[in-house]
């Protein structure tokens, strides 16, 4: 057995049902997933670390529950992968950085605890851009991850490892985080569903911070139903996170319709103008997607986001500013890597940080430190916060006209490794369509929408704050009608088949 699902694509809910019906054991599924992850590590490098013992022990526990006829959690026995910035008690958590390569967390992230409480089996920690800063997974301090649809190309980032392993169908579910597009862009690149929830919907406790006012954890899954299941498990108020919101979590998975009658879908005029100037095939793909939505019964309405064009500049002031402060703690005194030598404690701090951080992280720390410094704080940081207000109110106005927004998730299909790594600005521009939602704190997802030159592309669906259900419902109807992801098998599978 080379994969958990040789013929059709596995989903978490299908595996769960198989376990419930005792057709397959959690242990058997976990072994298969671990084996698959290992055999695909060569071509994909999706994982920083696999956790076979922990996973198998927990899988056997689930099998025990099944045998005893005990009640099972929503994700009982389903193998999942988590981005290596979620702390897992007793395990290494590197955040893709040399500075944390030997850090073993003494506690677990709330979302990880919730996943495990629902019966999920964490098989490994996935690769990522260092400290979640990047859009290609090439900023990992360890190795780049590759795209299962074309291993010469990037899987997107920063949650590239999670996207790659779900895209390869090694596991049906992974956790990622999204600060400016780090779930949605790799989801688009790897042909999976990626959900960035409303800011405050999911606890950030135990998730290593990049930019605290923007970071959100979310599911990256084989299909919309899995995304709905996972969101329902991980969402909710956490007393350990002051910014988590105490709003009831609806049963997302039980509210997934097959048509869109009565739904008003906003199409963003400014984004369409922008996409029309780029790749014609990509523009055509999105046009087709909107038509498909309309055919399902939705009413398309034009909406405007006049300040969305300022999103990138706003984001690259706010996120680095917060990051410069969040990453100050990595100094070699209490945990993580220390670079010793002559001199006092500050010399140690300086050496440790200079050696421990990669290029992109350094760039953002410097940029953010500058944006907060005396004389520039008002001109940069405060001004960015004000523009953030304008961007947020654009969405408020747009949602007065529509129920959800449909728009591009990306401005291009997955690109080749190295294509943008020398050009930070080109890399930053990858998040052009995803950043405004992050700044507004509203939920957005990417769903497979077809292929450009045999490379996957995602459609972005955006909803008002705390209306993830609405967005998942639209995505589900679209997915059921189009079946874009299910229609093809990732290249890494056919290559693997040829090799064996």
């Amino acid at each position: 057995m080379s994969s958990i699902h040789a013929t059709s694509l596995p989903t978490g809910h299908a595996l769960r049902e198989a376990i419930r019906r005792r057709e397959r054991s959690a242990e058997e599924i976990t072994r298969a997933a671990l084996h698959d992850a290992e055999s695909l590590q060569g071509p994909l490098h999706a994982y920083i670390r696999l956790l076979p013992e922990r996973a198998l022990e927990r899988a056997r526990r689930i099998d025990g529950l099944v045998r005893a006829g005990e009640p099972l959690g929503t994700l009982a026995g389903v193998p999942v992968a988590v981005k290596d910035l979620f702390c897992l008690q007793g395990e290494f958590t590197t955040c893709g950085s040399r500075i944390l390569e030997n850090f073993r967390s003494p506690y677990s992230a709330t979302v990880v605890e919730k996943l495990e409480a629902a019966g999920a089996i964490i098989i490994g920690k996935t690769n990522m851009d260092e400290f979640a800063m990047g859009s290609s997974c090439e900023n990992s301090a360890f190795f780049p991850t590759r795209n299962p649809w074309d291993t010469t190309r990037v899987p997107g980032g920063s949650s590239g490892g999670s996207a790659s392993t779900v895209g390869a169908r090694t596991v049906p579910i992974a956790l990622g985080t999204d600060t400016g597009g780090s779930i949605r862009e790799p989801a688009s690149f790897c042909n999976i569903v990626g959900v960035k929830p409303t800011y405050g919907r999911v606890s950030r406790y135990g998730m290593i911070a990049f930019a605290s006012s923007l970071d959100q954890a979310g599911p990256m899954t084989a299909d919309v139903r899995d995304a709905a299941d996972v969101l329902e498990v991980i969402a909710g108020y956490d007393p350990m996170d002051s910014t988590s919101v105490d709003v009831a979590v609806p049963p997302y998975a039980s509210e997934l319709p097959d048509d869109l009658h009565g739904v008003r879908i906003g199409i963003v005029a400014e984004f369409e103008a922008s996409i029309a100037q780029g790749d014609a095939a990509l523009a055509a793909l999105y046009k087709q997607a909107y038509k498909d939505l309309e055919r399902l019964g939705a009413q398309l309405v034009e909406v405007h986001l006049p300040h969305a064009q300022y999103g990138l500049a706003t984001y690259y002031l706010i996120a680095p500013a917060e990051c410069s402060s969040n990453l100050a703690r990595y100094d070699g005194a209490r945990y993580g890597r220390r670079v010793d030598g002559d001199g006092d404690v500050y010399a140690m701090f300086d050496r440790t940080r200079a050696a421990g951080f990669g290029d992109e992280v350094k760039r953002r720390i410097i940029l953010g430190t500058y944006a907060l410094s005396t004389g520039y704080y008002d001109a940069y940081y405060v001004r960015a916060q004000k523009v953030r207000t304008l961007i947020k109110s654009d969405f408020d106005s747009a949602f007065a006209e529509c129920d959800v927004i449909a728009c591009p998730a990306v401005s291009c299909p997955p690109f080749e490794l190295g294509a943008k790594s020398q050009d930070p600005l080109a890399m930053y521009l990858m998040d052009y369509f995803t950043i405004p939602m992050s700044l507004a704190g509203i939920p957005a997802l990417s769903i497979p929408a077809g292929y450009v030159s045999d490379l996957p592309v995602g459609l972005q669906i955006v909803a008002p704050a705390f209306h993830e259900g609405r967005m998942l419902a639209v995505a589900h109807a679209y997915e059921q009608a189009t079946q874009h992801a299910a229609a093809r098998i990732p290249a890494v599978r056919s290559e693997g088949a040829r090799a064996s």
Binding site: F86, S105, I208, S242, A328, R334, Y335, Y346, S373
Partner: protein, 484 residues
């Protein structure tokens, strides 16, 4: 003439104090670790207060309550909207290399501290922040140390910073300010206010200027003063140093100076190599505070009467002197004890006499305090009542008081056990007087013959026959009466 004036110019100090107070909450400011002094190093730490990756702060409600109550007690305005900011700088005892503090929207502004003299020192603000850990420098001095050891037990303890306006005129007034502040904080129970344990710490901003002028001079910030006494000494030293410097035509530079208690001097810490730009910005891990009127009203309701208000009321209500009232109100529980005694016996003056006299002496003798002694206010009130009623003698009363303070026994029981009650019944005493007169005719004669001293002999005889229990005032009165 002009020059002569310049040479003889006298300088006056301008002093402002920044007082850091550790709040006496159960747990730390942003996590559930116990907030207590003196635990073994790094035993009161968790991922949050160690600044581990992924951790988040959550505000301790009690710390906010304590700060607001302090503000209310000092007449400050509690802000309707307040927030926490990050103060960014690198220091090894600070786990995140930023301190969560309050920058432009502190919880309270304004207010004042009322000194015993009646003068009020205006406050600028009070804000809430987290304490840092402690560095232990291995070796004899910081400069000679090979390495530093860090204990993070104190990291994250809630810290309140009370900033005064530069309205303090003398070192002595600074001491009065600290003393008044300490008293208020201890009354409302928000801190242990122990300077030697670091739960109350004080930095001073001080400058001098020619008397009668109003422009401020260049200030020095003085740190590392570990007692009220060292604050006074350090400020005196600085006044002298700055005055001498100005008199001899030198310029004062703005700097931080540490107080060296052993040498009795302040010394410049030299500006650190570190660039200082704290880059304050709102902490995105926390949400703003908007305290509603009901909560504030409830906190206000819970405030006790403050020391100087109590002092003034004691003077008015119990007729005690300002000096007595001052001592009686130094400590809140002692003041409440006094008041309970005064109310129960109905004589505040007597209650004060006893509290400040025999009770205090007995406590000292038995190495007790009012808190550790078993004595209850009702017992002292009873003692005062039976003395007033003449049931026991003044001498016996001291003995009873001592027993009550040491053992907590009821005064009546002590009197009964030790047979200390006096006979004040005129009929019974009259019979004893008659007996004595009959038995000592020669003394009666000599008294009548003009020898006043003979009366004292007769008094002695009655006391002897009563074995000391007769009320001596009544004996004397009856003898005089019968001897005409």
């Amino acid at each position: 003439m002009q020059q002569a004036i310049e040479r003889n110019v006298s300088y006056q100090p301008v002093i402002g104090l920044e007082v850091h107070v550790e709040l006496a909450t159960q747990s730390k400011m942003f996590c559930g670790c116990r907030n207590v002094f003196g635990a073994p190093p790094n035993t009161l730490v968790c991922p949050v207060c160690l600044g581990m990756p992924g951790t988040l702060p959550v505000i301790n409600r009690r710390a906010v309550e304590f700060l607001c109550k302090t503000g209310m007690a000092l007449g400050c305005d509690v802000a309707p909207f307040s927030k926490f900011d990050r103060k960014n700088y690198f220091y090894p005892d600070m786990p995140k290399n930023y301190q969560i503090s309050q920058y432009d929207m502190p919880l309270t502004t304004g207010g004042s501290v009322r000194l015993a003299s009646g003068k009020r020192i205006a406050l600028n603000r009070i804000h809430l922040e987290e304490d840092t850990g402690k560095n232990i420098h291995a070796g004899t001095s910081m400069a000679a140390s090979e390495y530093t050891l860090i204990d993070y037990n104190r990291a994250g303890v809630p810290l309140m910073e009370i900033v005064s306006e530069p309205h303090i005129a003398t070192p002595e007034e600074a001491e009065q300010y600290l003393s008044a502040l300490k008293s208020v904080l201890s009354y409302i129970g928000v801190s242990d206010v122990k300077m030697h344990e670091g739960s109350l710490r004080c930095d001073a901003n001080i400058s001098v200027r020619p008397a009668g002028t109003s422009t401020l001079g260049v200030k020095a910030e003085v740190k590392n003063m570990n007692s009220f006494r060292s604050v006074v000494r350090a400020l005196r030293f600085e006044i002298e140093r700055q005055t001498e410097a100005l008199t001899s035509g030198e310029r004062i530079i703005q700097e931080t100076r540490n107080w060296d208690d052993a040498r009795g001097v302040t010394y410049s810490t030299r500006s650190k190599e570190q660039a200082h730009d704290y880059r304050y910005f709102p902490d995105p891990d926390l949400v703003p505070l908007t305290l509603d009127d009901a909560t504030l009203a409830q906190w206000r309701e819970e405030l006790p009467e403050l020391p100087l208000d109590k002092r003034d009321r004691f003077i008015a209500e119990y007729g005690v002197s300002e000096y007595e009232a001052g001592i009686l109100t130094e400590d809140r529980s002692a003041a409440e004890f006094f008041e309970a005694v005064a109310r129960a016996c109905g004589d505040g003056k007597q209650a004060a006499n006893w509290m400040l006299g025999d009770v205090r002496r007995s406590l000292e003798k038995h190495s007790l305090t009012l808190a550790t002694s078993p004595v209850r206010p009702a017992q002292l009130a009873e003692l005062i009542r039976i003395v007033a009623a003449g049931q026991i003698s003044g001498k016996a009363a001291k003995e009873v008081c001592d027993a009550v303070v040491a053992e907590g026994t009821d005064p009546q029981a002590v009197v009964a056990q030790r047979g200390l009650s006096q006979i004040s019944d005129t009929e019974a005493v009259g019979a004893m007087v008659d007996d004595a007169l009959a038995a000592n005719p020669e003394s009666v004669a000599s008294y009548k013959g003009g020898k006043a001293k003979a009366l004292e002999f007769l008094v002695g005889q009655v006391m002897k026959s009563s074995r000391g229990k007769a009320n001596i005032d009544i004996v004397r009165e009856l003898l005089r009466e019968r001897l005409g």
